[in-house]
Structure formats: C-alpha cells, structure tokens
C-alpha cells in the first residue's frame, strides 16, 4: 500500500469527518440542536428519535418539543433525562 493511501486510510479512520457526521449541540439538558439529520423516526410524549444516517439519536425526557425543523437541522427543547445512540 502506498504511503498516500495509508495516510488517507489512517486519517479517515481516526478522525470523524464533520461534514458527514451529525453534530449535536446541547444547552444544558434543556435544548439540543442536531445538524445533519435525515428525519424523525419516532416521536411521542416522552421521547424523540432522530435519524442521523449512520446512527439514530434518542432524546428521552419530558415536555419534548420540536422547536424548529429544516431540511438537515432540528431543534429540540424539553427536559432531557437520557440521550441514546444506536448504530443502524
């Protein structure tokens, strides 16, 4: 394997590419902004599950509201008690 290919393999495996990976911004346990999401998988009174292509993120808690939705960003408010990640 050439040095260039080896470097590329190492670089891509060690560091997540921010353009491809979802980015989650949390403000205490009150507000979360998920960038790079592909839709809602499940939404009920106490939880919301967001599809982030490679993973799904579940926000559990109370008073879960979807404050704003756009094509790849979702803003969730409420009181979060648990955040779960699961690989698809």
């Amino acid at each position: 394997m050439s040095l260039k290919k080896e470097h590329k393999r190492r670089f891509t495996s060690d560091f997540p590419n921010p353009a491809l990976e979802p980015m989650i911004e949390l403000i205490s346990n009150r507000e979360a902004v998920v960038e790079g999401c592909a839709g809602i998988v499940e939404y009920n009174d106490s939880s919301v599950t967001v599809n982030c292509r490679k993973t799904t993120v579940t926000f559990e808690g109370s008073c879960i509201n979807l404050k704003a939705l756009s094509t790849d960003t979702i803003e969730i408010t409420g009181t979060f008690t648990c955040i779960k990640f699961s690989c698809l």
Partner: protein, 389 residues
C-alpha cells in the same frame, strides 16, 4: 417578543392539530416538501404545530400520504387580525397612528440612567448633561453623544475622569468614572526619617532608602525611629536622604464605638405596591391618591423592550413599607452587624485582622461596642529631619 415572532405574525400562520396515521412520516414529508413547521408539540396522541398559511395548501398532499387528520386550531397573523376587526373601522387606523406616534416619539430621550459613579449623585450628572445638550426630550437623530460626554466632563470641574453616553432607543445610559487622585512617584526629596505611627512589633521591614535602625521582631513605640535618613559615608561626611521603606507590624488596637439606639432601623413591613405608568416621560398613577407621606418607599421601573430596543413605555412599581421596632435580641444582631461594618470599613479598612475580641454593652438610649483587634498594618510614617537638630 423578538423579530422572528413579528416576522411570523406578518406572514400569517395557523396552528394545526394532527391526529391519527403516521405523524413521524408527516413531519418527514413536510420537511422534504420544504414546509416550515415550528413549535411542534406531541401530547396525548396529538401533534400540534405552527405552519405558514402559504404552506398550508401543500399539507393536503402530505395528509393523504401519511394518513393523518388535520384540523386548524388557531389562526394568527396580521391578515386574520384585520379580518376579525373589519367592522371596527377606527381600530386599525388607530393602531397604525399609535405605532407611528410611538416610532416618532422613540426618537427622543425619555430615560437617562447613570451608572459607575459613587462621588457624584446621578441628579447632578443629569444636570451637567442637560447643560451639554442631553436632557429628557432631546431629539436623538443627529445628536453627538461623544461631544455631550466631553462637555459634561469639562463642566464637572475635574470631578469626572471619563463619561460616555450610549443611546439605545429612547434610553440614554451614561457610564461615568470618578476622578481618583493618582498616587504617583514621590518626587519630594526632603530629608526625612521613617518613624513608628503607633505601638507594635515589627514583622517585616524592607528598606528602599536609608539605614534600618530597628530589626525584625523588635517592639516599637509611637514615634520610635525605624529607618534613618541620615547616612554616614566612609570619609566621615553625612548625607541626608529621604528614607523610604515598607514596614509592617503587629499592633494592638482598641475600638470604642458608641451609638444611640435607633429603634426605627429594624425590620420592614411591606404594606402595599403601587404602580405608575410611565408614558413618554409622563407619569400616570394607577392608584387612588392617599396620604402616605409617613411611609418609606422603594421604587423600581421596568421599561418595555423590543429586541433590546427600549421603548418609552414603562411601569414603575413602588413598594410602600413601614419600619417596626424590634426586640432587644433582634437589636443585638443589628449591633453586631454594625460593629463588624464599623470595624471592617471604617477603622481597619486596609489592615489584615488576625484576632478580634469585642463586647457589646447596652443601656436605655445607647449601645457601646468595645473591642481589641490584633492586626498587621503598615507602621511607618515619614518624619522630616530638622537640620538644626
């Protein structure tokens, strides 16, 4: 209220309730069709969300795909407001006129807030500013804030070091810094000694200029020579210097503090709150007039803001209260606080207290605090050398 809410209100939106079917699919499809939804809340199997009116037509296709039932709960926006009040012909022009008047009146200063000064009262600063052009009712566009600030500093006769006027909406915030006399380098080279200012035990002495006479750990009395400004050269001649150094010592201080019992200085009983509407600098009381001259007052004013922009409409809350006498036990606590305040901020403001014992004695009219304090303090004071001596 912020600009986003106003923008949404101007574009008109509806609050819809979505039931049955697949609500998640509905949300995803709305997302795909660029239907902007906000404040989506899922409660008891029902999704409530806000949608712009222009996007509402798109929902019919999405509804069929996701199998949900949509029901309009609330219609919000300027269009709906006008439709609702079509018959009230004066209302809309009245609101428009009020808005225009408010926008116009917002170009004037209706509130001046002074911060950052301790030596000069805010009223005095407002008076200075009024002489330099900034007063209640000043027209803001074209007003030179920096010039007004500079003129106010000149008018202060050196009391103010720096003053800045910031105008936001109809409120002017005045930042003031008091003039503090700088303790610059001592250029006075008059020959002098450093002597003890009070009795104590020398803890540390750093001599900058002169000859140290008394060593660390020695006890000194008031007036004892610590650093001498007389320096004998090797050839026998004498130089007279301005002795300088830092001498800290442990000293015992006695404090006696006598004060008349102030029986009205005790707990506060809030009687009632009174509100006053402040409209473009005019105070409109929202209460019936009554005699309350004997009561004490605390006032607090809150102004209406729009995205940080102060609007000259405010509400002043005045709390009227009455002072009531307290028992001897309650007084004791107050006296202790007084003693502490006196000790800390009055006499030993710059000292490092290492031990404090104080007692409080009371009689009918007065209370007396007497205490002993051991503290570390700078003991040295300059004493000029008289050459005749």
């Amino acid at each position: 209220m912020n600009f986003l809410n106003v923008y949404r209100y101007l574009l008109n939106y509806v609050t819809v309730s979505i039931k049955g079917g697949f609500t998640e699919r509905f949300i995803n499809l709305c997302n795909r069709e660029n239907v902007y939804m906000w404040n989506s809340v899922y409660r008891n199997g029902e999704l409530t969300a806000n949608v712009f009116c222009k996007d509402f037509k798109k929902l019919s296709g999405i509804r069929k795909k996701s199998g949900v039932k949509i029901k309009i709960i609330k219609k919000c926006g300027i269009y709906f407001f006008i439709r609702r009040n079509e018959k009230r012909k004066i209302l809309i022009p009245g609101i428009c006129t009020a808005l225009l008047i408010m926008l116009f009146m917002n170009n004037f200063i209706w509130n001046i807030e002074v911060t950052g000064t301790k030596k000069i009262s805010p009223d005095e600063i407002i008076e200075m500013l009024s002489e330099s052009g900034l007063k209640y009712g000043t027209f803001v566009p074209g007003f030179d804030e920096a010039q007004a600030g500079r003129e106010a500093v000149n008018l202060s006769d050196g009391k103010i070091l720096w003053l800045a006027v910031n105008i936001k909406g109809s409120r002017a915030t005045v930042e003031v810094r008091d003039y503090v006399k700088q303790q610059g380098l001592n250029t006075d080279n008059t020959p002098c000694n450093i002597v003890a200012n009070f009795d104590g035990i020398i803890l540390s002495a750093y001599t900058h200029t002169g000859v140290q006479i008394i060593q660390n750990g020695s006890a000194v009395k008031k007036g004892d020579l610590i650093i001498s400004g007389v320096y004998e050269n090797e050839n026998g001649t004498v130089d007279y210097l301005c002795a300088d150094g830092e001498i800290s010592a442990i000293c015992e201080n006695e404090l006696k503090y006598k004060k008349a019992s102030a029986k009205n200085k005790t707990e506060r009983i809030n009687l009632k709150d009174r509100y006053t509407l402040k409209l473009f600098g005019i105070n409109i009381p929202l209460f019936l007039k009554s005699d309350d001259s004997l009561l004490d007052k605390i006032s607090y004013t809150e102004y209406l803001t729009f995205d940080g922009y102060v609007i000259p409409i405010g509400l002043e809350k005045t709390t009227l209260y009455m002072s009531e006498s307290a028992s001897d036990e309650e007084f004791k606590e107050i006296r202790e606080i007084d003693a502490f305040t006196n000790r800390e901020y009055f006499k030993f403001k710059n000292s490092n207290i290492i031990k404090a014992d104080y007692t409080i004695s009371t009689d009918k009219d007065n209370y007396e605090i007497s205490g002993k304090y051991s503290c570390i303090d700078f003991i040295g004071i300059k004493s000029p050398i008289l050459k005749e001596n």
